[in-house]
């Protein structure tokens, strides 16, 4: 007897469908699983057999061989309990092969027969949809996630007997007892909790940072905040997450896929609807940061995709961890190389860094700061140059004077700021339509030339700034991109002098 069940898994960053072939033949009793499977995957055998027995099914005597095709695809870190169970049951005659055709089965089995959720369901189901499957049997805990993919009937299974009932039932009964779950992604996004984790209106003073964050959010520019300890840098970073425009449908799916692969989709929340905000402690390991491991899993920078990656006390991070950022900040993805191949995870985060100006934090206040010039320079060099090069905005965050704290905060609210940002976003969408670029910060040099053209008097000012304030080529490009965003926020088609002059204020270093 031979049976064929379709399942799937996420390997690296992509999902693959696989055929679970089960064969039952006479001979000495035995069970073997082949198909380039790792030991961990083979554990399915024990779980399946015990749970089948506990559900009242006696395993046939004879040799059971399970093959997972294709045989050249290495299978590790996946759970294929439920498909194997289905395959064996089919070989035993309990299930009809025809009921299994065109059906994707996923799930982990407990020893008592309960079906547990697995990770990566969303991308696997999406792949199944692409391959024309009609139905998928998913653990109950994953069914909403599968429904998000859309275009396929998702059936939630709680335990082994339920799966058997379903597969044995006729289509009418199936439709009645297991109604289809429809998820409207657009609606989910619209009704998402709009209240940001922190509102700008609650922040006292700090006009410079607020403005810098507005620019950062509008053009997706990376930002570095520099200031003494206790000046509110962490709180400001949370405010930034609140003024970023809401996730689009495509963005929400992208982010949800990553979280699904990482096994981090919260229970009952099949879709990530808010911009991610990741704030790792500076003691984070390089691997947790970038992703990887024997079975490559997305790292923190990927979990911040389409959201904010906040690195507080940036000079305290390991140099290796910071150096990891170079590629993602350039390409918006990270490639993790292994001997067996490489895996690419998305990593399009908005970097917000916070740093003290010197080891004690109070430079240039010489009444408090006793750091030597060498100590200051060495501290600043701890953030690698190539990372600094890709940060467009640098703003100082001074200590808030007591008067400011005691007075009433009378700044703009996050909602007001967000309005301006959305407008700027629309302009960018229009500008970059048809190109691969999405935001001003991502412009190539050619695009900078095209879209950041400077008129006569503005060009003259640029020259003055370039020479008078000692800009380099990189600083020049960064300044133009920032100026473009400032002009967008002001609703101006051209970059005017005041836009360029303000952009210059966010450059790095002094004289």
């Amino acid at each position: 007897m031979f049976s064929l069940v379709t399942s799937g898994a996420v390997i690296g960053a992509s999902s693959h469908l696989m055929q679970v072939e089960t064969d039952l033949s006479s001979g000495l009793p035995g069970f073997s699983m082949v198909g380039f499977v790792s030991e961990q995957v083979k554990e399915a055998g024990d779980r399946v057999r015990v749970s089948l027995r506990n559900c009242g099914y006696t395993l046939p005597t004879g040799k059971i061989t399970v093959n997972i095709a294709p045989a050249d695809l290495p299978k590790r870190g996946m759970v294929i309990d439920l498909p194997v169970a289905a395959g064996i049951l089919c070989c035993m005659g309990e299930l009809e092969q025809i009921s299994l055709d065109g059906v994707l089965i996923l799930g982990e089995l407990g020893l008592g027969g309960e079906v547990r959720p697995v990770r990566g369901v969303l991308p696997i189901v999406e792949e199944a949809v692409r391959c024309g499957f009609r139905t998928c049997l998913l653990p109950q805990g994953n069914v909403l996630e599968g429904a998000v993919a859309g275009g396929i009937r998702c059936v939630g299974i709680r335990d082994l007997p339920e799966m058997i009932s379903y597969l044995k039932a006729d289509p009418e009964e199936q439709a009645r007892r297991w109604p289809d779950r429809e998820i409207d992604v657009e609606q989910l996004l619209e009704t998402a909790d709009d209240a940001p984790p922190a509102d700008f209106a609650a922040v006292h003073g700090q006009e410079g940072v607020k403005r810098a964050m507005e620019i950062a959010a509008a053009g997706f520019h990376n930002l570095l905040m520099v200031g003494p300890p206790g000046s509110g840098k962490s709180m400001m970073a949370k405010c930034l997450a609140g003024i970023l425009p809401p996730l689009s449908r495509e963005e929400a799916l992208e982010v949800s896929r990553i979280y699904s692969i990482a096994g981090r989709l919260p229970e009952g929340e099949p879709l990530i609807t808010r911009r991610p905000f990741q704030a790792p402690h500076h003691s984070v390991t390089v691997k947790a940061f970038s992703g990887g491991g024997a079975v490559p899993v997305p790292g923190i920078i990927s979990l911040a995709h389409r959201g904010v990656l906040f690195l507080d006390e940036m000079p305290e991070f390991e140099k290796d961890a910071l150096n990891i950022l170079r590629q993602p900040m350039e390409d918006r993805r990270i490639v993790i190389s292994r001997a067996s191949g490489s895996v690419t995870f998305p990593a399009g985060f908005l970097l917000v860094g916070a740093a003290n100006p010197c080891p004690c934090g109070y430079y240039p206040d010489r009444n408090r700061c006793r750091c030597t010039q060498v100590e200051i320079e060495r501290y600043q060099k701890r953030i690698p140059g190539p990372v600094i090069d890709r940060i467009d905005l640098c703003v100082d965050v001074p200590r808030v004077p007591l008067d400011s704290i005691l007075g009433e905060a009378k700044g703009e609210s996050s909602a007001q700021i967000r309005g301006r940002i959305l407008e700027a976003r629309l302009r960018q969408k229009h500008r970059f339509a048809g190109t691969g670029t999405e935001f001003n910060a991502d412009m190539t040099n050619a695009q900078v030339e095209q879209y950041c053209h400077l008129g006569g008097p503005v060009k003259k000012l640029m020259k003055q700034i370039y020479e008078g304030l000692g800009l380099g080529a990189r600083g020049y490009t960064r300044m133009l991109k920032t100026a473009r965003t400032i002009a967008d926020l002001a609703g101006s088609a051209d970059i005017q002098e005041q836009h360029l002059a303000e952009a210059a204020g966010y450059r790095f270093g002094g004289q």
Binding site: G205, Q206, G208, R366, G468
Partner: protein, 425 residues
């Protein structure tokens, strides 16, 4: 200097006074080192004891043994090596030894140098200050060192990071003579961050040390070298120092040597100027204007007679001596006088331009300028509220930031890093 002198320096050191004692005990024989080298060890031992006794010094750390140890290295070879590196040396026995240095209580017997030694017939001024400087300190160091250098004054410093380095560069940049005394032997460049200054001094000034080649910079050497810095100068100028800083050691040496001390006053609330202010309270002269120092430097050249401060004050009132010197050195004096006049005119011009500029500035610029300080850096975020209040309307951060950029480009204010600005004069 001879190879034997070099041997003696490695054995006994320049500053301990033992060499001097021997020199005196041997009746100031020019080739005393050579004689000592070939002398019978027992005879040498006895000579050492009597020499040190006569000089009133106790015999410590077995000099005879060290002399024997130093003999294991071939003096001619060491000497060749030194010369091939472009290092010169001079001893107290040479008539060319700097006159000012000869007169201090404990001059180094040997002096090594690259480039040129400070000359006796031009005034010299030591400019010292702390390693952690502020924008104000930098400005003052550049102002004084630049003007003094331009006037032909020799500027002496320690080439340390911070004020020393700034002063050295400014003096050289103004075309003046400059020299640095190191806490190591002359072939080491410490700190590395002043490499450019080291190179310039090697070519256009002088690098001095009392330590023979191969001596690394060591903490204990620095107080000792400070006595040489003040010893080579007529006047010591302290730009910026905290209380109880290394700079104080130089000042103490200066006072011991009878040199006059000037200090740049700072804000009473700035701890970075607390040392200078303390000096002023204790009697140092305030350094407000380069012209004051120039006048003092030209009238007061340190000679044997002027070691006592009272005598110096008397000589300052001595018109005839001044007239004689004017007759002898008409050319430099006239030149300096012309310089001082042009300095005064320049200052007056700058002040009037400044007033005109302030009057002509747009309201926002003027408000921002007024809100900033010339020495304490301030953040735009901090001054925003004040500026808005002064103008009677709400200024946005972007407006202020744009204004700040334009003013920076025009040189009216400066960004010293991290968005903190100072107003420029």
């Amino acid at each position: 200097m001879t190879p034997y002198d070099l041997w003696l320096c490695y054995a006994l050191g320049s500053g301990s006074g033992t060499v001097r004692a021997l020199y005196e005990a041997m009746n100031r024989e020019p080739i005393f080192a050579e004689i000592l080298y070939h002398m019978n060890p027992e005879k040498r031992q006895r000579l050492l004891e009597t020499a040190l006794q006569d000089a009133g010094k106790s015999v410590r750390s077995d000099p005879e043994k060290r002399m024997k140890e130093a003999m294991t290295r071939d003096p001619d070879e060491l000497y060749e090596k030194m010369v091939s590196r472009g290092i010169h040396a001079i001893s107290l026995a040479d008539p060319g030894y700097p006159r000012r240095l000869r007169m201090i209580p404990d001059p180094p017997f040997f002096l090594f140098y690259i480039g040129r030694l400070p000359v006796d017939d031009r005034p010299s001024c030591a400019i010292v200050g702390s390693r952690q400087f502020t924008a104000y300190g930098k400005e003052m160091a550049e102002y004084f060192a630049g003007n003094l250098g331009a006037a032909g004054i020799q500027v002496i410093s320690g080439m340390a990071s911070g004020i020393d380095g700034i002063a050295g560069r400014a003096a050289l940049g103004a075309g003046g003579l400059s020299a640095a005394v190191l806490g190591s032997s002359v072939e080491f460049c410490y700190p590395k961050s002043n490499r450019d200054l080291y190179e310039s001094l090697s070519q256009r000034g002088g690098i001095l040390s009392e330590y023979p080649p191969g001596t690394e910079p060591v903490r204990g050497h620095f107080p000792a070298r400070n006595r040489i810095i003040s010893g080579l100068s007529d006047l010591v100028l302290v730009i910026e120092a905290r209380k109880q800083s290394g700079t104080r050691i130089t000042v103490d040496c200066a006072l011991e040597q009878g040199r006059e001390v000037y200090a740049v006053p700072g804000r009473v609330t700035d701890s970075t100027s607390s040392g200078c202010n303390e000096l002023l309270r204790d009697g140092a002269s305030p350094a407000i204007d380069a012209r004051d120092l120039l006048e003092t430097l030209l009238r007061t050249q340190v000679t044997d007679e002027t070691l006592q401060i009272q005598k110096r004050q008397q000589e300052r009132r001595n018109q005839t001596a001044k007239k004689e010197r004017q007759a002898d050195e008409a050319a430099p004096d006239e030149r300096t006088r012309a310089l001082m006049d042009s300095l005064q005119q320049k200052q007056k011009r700058l002040e009037s331009l400044h007033r005109q500029k302030l009057a002509a500035m747009p309201k926002l610029d003027a408000a921002l300028y007024g809100a900033l300080d010339t020495s304490t850096p301030k953040s735009l975020t901090d001054v925003l509220e004040g500026v808005s209040g002064q103008l009677g309307r709400r200024i946005s951060y972007s407006e202020l930031a744009g204004c700040a950029t334009l003013m920076s480009v025009r040189g009216e204010i400066r960004d010293i890093g991290f968005g903190k600005y100072i107003a420029l004069r």
